[in-house]
Symmetry: C2
Subunit: 553 residues, 2 copies
């Protein structure tokens, strides 16, 4: 028996950009290729990708990429990976592949790899020295799977994201029978989702949210808006089912919501009769109590549908007294203030806002401690490597493994870049490779279609522009105290006239916004970013990173 | 019967800087004088105060300031208010006054006002046209009170912060008997705490946390650290009681923790025998299972005790495998990422970290919906004005009032600066005055003693220095890509040599930190801020606002 190396390139010590390399006999299989969203201190960054250096140097060894489900933190960096490395094969279930196809199409990469659709009921297949099969898992997106890899070092189960959920909306339960069956065959190593390892008990079923919708929606006399992750197909389906039952029609608002709804409907994952789906402006002609609006923006993202609706800045949708807004998601840590701001704005507009603090309108997609114990009980792995989570979550998962009887030297607390070796002698960390972050900056946020997303290496060529403006605004009424100052890097010597023009443009944009009583720093930054970016692109066809720094005095 | 004006200058549409003006017959009484903590977009700001302009223009009318309890968001701006306005009298209960005295002493203002200690059992007393009495309320700090104001416009109850808590740690229950009694006398207007109005049910008793401590602490073999708000005297007392019972001694770590513990012990609000209180370095000589450390930093504040301990940067306290850290607080919205970072660091150091997500080690100090209903039931006010909360919380409180039978036109949804008039004809918003924010910037965070806190008006004289540095750090190993650039405002013409020196200093500081593998943006910013601030103060005795902008490429 031989050896298999497991190298996590992302997802450990963080929530986001999940990616794990499995390597044996000069062959590599990659499980997931996700992205992360930047933190506020990553000024001006739109996306964070794993560092692909390890794979770039071993391209010839890559047999394929396997995707566990269609969430951005598991599939979002695939186009960027494919730009850097030749990927011969992408393997995923039907919905996951549908979402990925649309993404690759936008990046012009649709013909670059074989896209193979699989089902968790297929026979195992070989990729080099790896024999691969799948197990159906319940999660907050349909068609999620765990991956079973028979490797020269032993049998590995990689759970992907999951919860047990014995009553999922589509009836597609986590396949505990197959988990037990694989457990009986013998599992050398489990790589398991740690997201909710710290939380005691069991995560509620997705069905709980549907029951909440059924309590809420039929009794409302105004418009109902439901904001959730655009990939949460079951969540949308449950809202639609209740709304349609009480005579409402449906509009999808926000680009990713429209896109995902289209994909899900085309592939049969979402059912809503064509004549009940309207465009927002058509919907607006109906009485308020016949409208259901499903929109993006549950994280309070600056240019998303819900945020624009909250700030009364959306062309198609307005909120009025008597309307109900359901935020059917939990803020990702760091987004709390943005979400709170949006809720306050919506409440001021007269809407009743329901969110996880005041109504059971959201449940997690990740299993809690008792579910992790169940998985360990079913698989009885010889070793456990917690993945998918901040260190505290990995540590909590390790504790669960310990309590489940896994010996201390068979619990692997790895980091991104750890090289973990699995063989008949067990599992251990043998080395460490580079596995940092790669930043992506574009113009605008969230709208891949309209902006040329570019990675930081190209960015270094295009330069950086920092705009500093000082506002006198202690009474909520802002005014520029002086013309904005600009710091440019990498613009070259000939840039002085352009900088002059940019300075004038920045001043103009800010003055107009302030005259319109736009004083939210985040909105000012966003508008400044877009205006200057557009001007620079017009003049130079370059897209530097633009950092607006606004100081209130 | 006459008229009373109620003018909230802070605390509405926000959580923080509570302050309400009561005005009748050319007399003003102010209830609370709090501060708020800045949001991340308020770059370089340490504290946010109410705008005192309204009071500054009417100083001669001020009869006194009444404080409901000793939390920073209710008393923190008192010294700044006293610098701007002559305040003849400050009225508060024993512990509140103890905390305030220490604050005024630091600001050199101890002799500027009469400080009058009251008890909720005192007879009513007069302040100009107002007759004042108090009602004992339970909260997350001892000695909290509601204020009853008999005004020419009618009887007003201002609850301050409260929960009902029928089993508080000190036995000092919310005085429902007196609330009912005041209700029987007739209440024209209730100004009530809205913080948890959105949450259904009832907040758990503080005693629940003590029970959790009793489940946790006796079974631990390592050090136990408990981090909470320094004002949460009951919380500390409960940890101490359990620890002492199982043979541990106690150290208070962090300046505000030491200070508050001293005040609380001197005034009899905290009981711990002298011989059980040690300094951190003395404690460290004991076996780990005989140590209890109570420390600041439950909000992940950058230079606080817990953050420094987490980053292994504290001179007196280290965390080792087997130790337990209990974070007995909830992150204030916006602080989540900092708290998560600290938890991850502590977990990496081998500590077990218990926090509200994985153990019942925190309860709120604010009552939920059913408690708000109870208060309305006891007082039966003719009108309700929700205060203390973001708009969505005020709206939820308004809904509770509506359901409690308060007529729509007697529910006042006011904003900071609203002028609300109460008379025998009822209550209505009649005008609006300026009520924005005042920013305070100092060097360093959290340590009032060491830094000259100054307000923005003085700051405008001292100027602004923006430092922009670009780091190449995609693999977690940062390096400066060029010398930092500086933008100065208000430094005058002669500043060029100083700017040169500052540029060199900034480069030096960053290079040294990066060489020491310090790559966290927040830490780099903090160090840069302090180093440049110190240098500028040395050379010019001025303290400009310093904004370090660090860009990773």
């Amino acid at each position: 028996m031989g050896v298999c190396k497991i190298i996590p390139l992302g997802g450990l010590g963080e929530v986001g950009k999940n990616m794990t390399v499995y390597e044996a006999e000069d062959s590599i299989v990659v499980v997931d290729a996700g992205l992360a969203f930047p933190r506020d201190e990553h000024l001006g960054v739109d996306l964070v990708l794993p560092d692909f250096a390890y794979l770039r140097d071993r391209q010839h060894m890559i047999r394929g990429v396997i995707l566990t489900h269609g969430h951005e933190d598991h599939v979002g960096s695939l186009p960027y990976l494919m730009r850097e490395c030749r990927i011969p094969l992408v393997v995923a279930t039907r919905l996951t592949l549908g979402l990925v196809k649309s993404k690759l199409d936008e990046h012009g990469l649709l013909r670059e790899a074989e896209l193979r659709e699989v089902s968790p009921y297929d026979e195992p297949f070989d990729l080099g020295p790896f024999r691969i099969e799948f197990i159906r898992m319940a999660h907050s997106i349909p068609d999620a799977v765990a991956v079973v890899l028979e490797t020269p070092g032993g049998r590995i189960v990689h759970t992907g994201d999951y919860k047990l959920d014995h009553t999922p909306v589509d009836g597609q339960r986590t396949d505990v029978g197959k988990l037990a069956d694989v457990g009986n065959r013998g599992v050398s190593l489990l790589l398991g989702d740690s997201t909710n390892a710290e939380r005691p008990g069991v995560t509620e079923s997705e069905r709980v949210v549907g029951e909440a919708f059924r309590q809420i929606i039929p009794h409302r006399s105004g418009k109902v808006l439901v904001s959730s992750f655009a990939s949460n197909v079951h969540r949308m389906q449950q809202a639609i089912d209740v709304a349609v039952d009480c005579g409402r029609k449906v509009a999808f608002v926000g680009r990713s919501m429209r896109k995902n709804a289209n994909i899900a409907r085309n592939l049969g994952y979402m059912e809503v009769p064509d004549d009940l789906v309207l465009r927002p402006h058509e919907l607006a002609e109906l009485p308020a109590n016949e409208q259901l609006i499903l929109c993006t923006g549950s994280q309070g993202e600056p240019m998303s549908a819900m945020t624009r609706i909250a700030y009364n800045d959306h062309p198609g949708v307005q909120v009025a007294p008597g309307d109900t807004v359901i935020i059917s998601a939990k803020p990702i840590p760091g987004n709390e203030l943005r979400v709170h701001d949006a809720i306050n704005r919506l409440a001021k507009a007269g809407a009743e806002v329901l969110h996880e603090d005041n109504a059971p309108v959201h449940v997690s997609g990740h299993g809690r401690a008792e579910e992790l114990r169940t998985i360990i009980g079913l698989l009885r792995p010889r070793a456990v490597m917690p993945v998918h989570g901040e260190f505290r979550m990995l540590a909590a998962h390790a504790q669960i493994a310990r309590e489940g009887g896994i010996p201390e030297d068979s619990i692997v607390l790895a980091e991104n870049g750890s090289v973990v070796e699995l063989s008949e002698h067990g599992v251990r960390i043998v080395d460490r490779v580079e596995a940092g972050m790669t930043f992506v900056d574009g113009l605008g946020v969230g709208d891949v279609h309209d902006v040329a997303l570019r990675d930081r290496r190209r960015l270094a060529e295009d330069g950086v522009l920092i705009v500093v403006a000082t506002l006198a605004g202690s009474n909520g009424r802002g005014a520029l105290t002086a013309a904005p100052e600009l710091i440019a890097r990498g613009f070259g010597e000939a840039a002085e006239p352009l900088l002059e023009e940019l300075r004038a443009e920045a001043e103009q944009v800010l003055k107009e916004l302030l005259a319109d009583d736009v004083t939210e720093i985040k909105l000012l930054q966003e508008h400044l970013h877009d205006a200057l970016g557009g001007l620079i692109y017009d003049r130079t066809q370059r897209r530097p990173m633009i950092l607006p720094v606004l100081v209130e005095v």
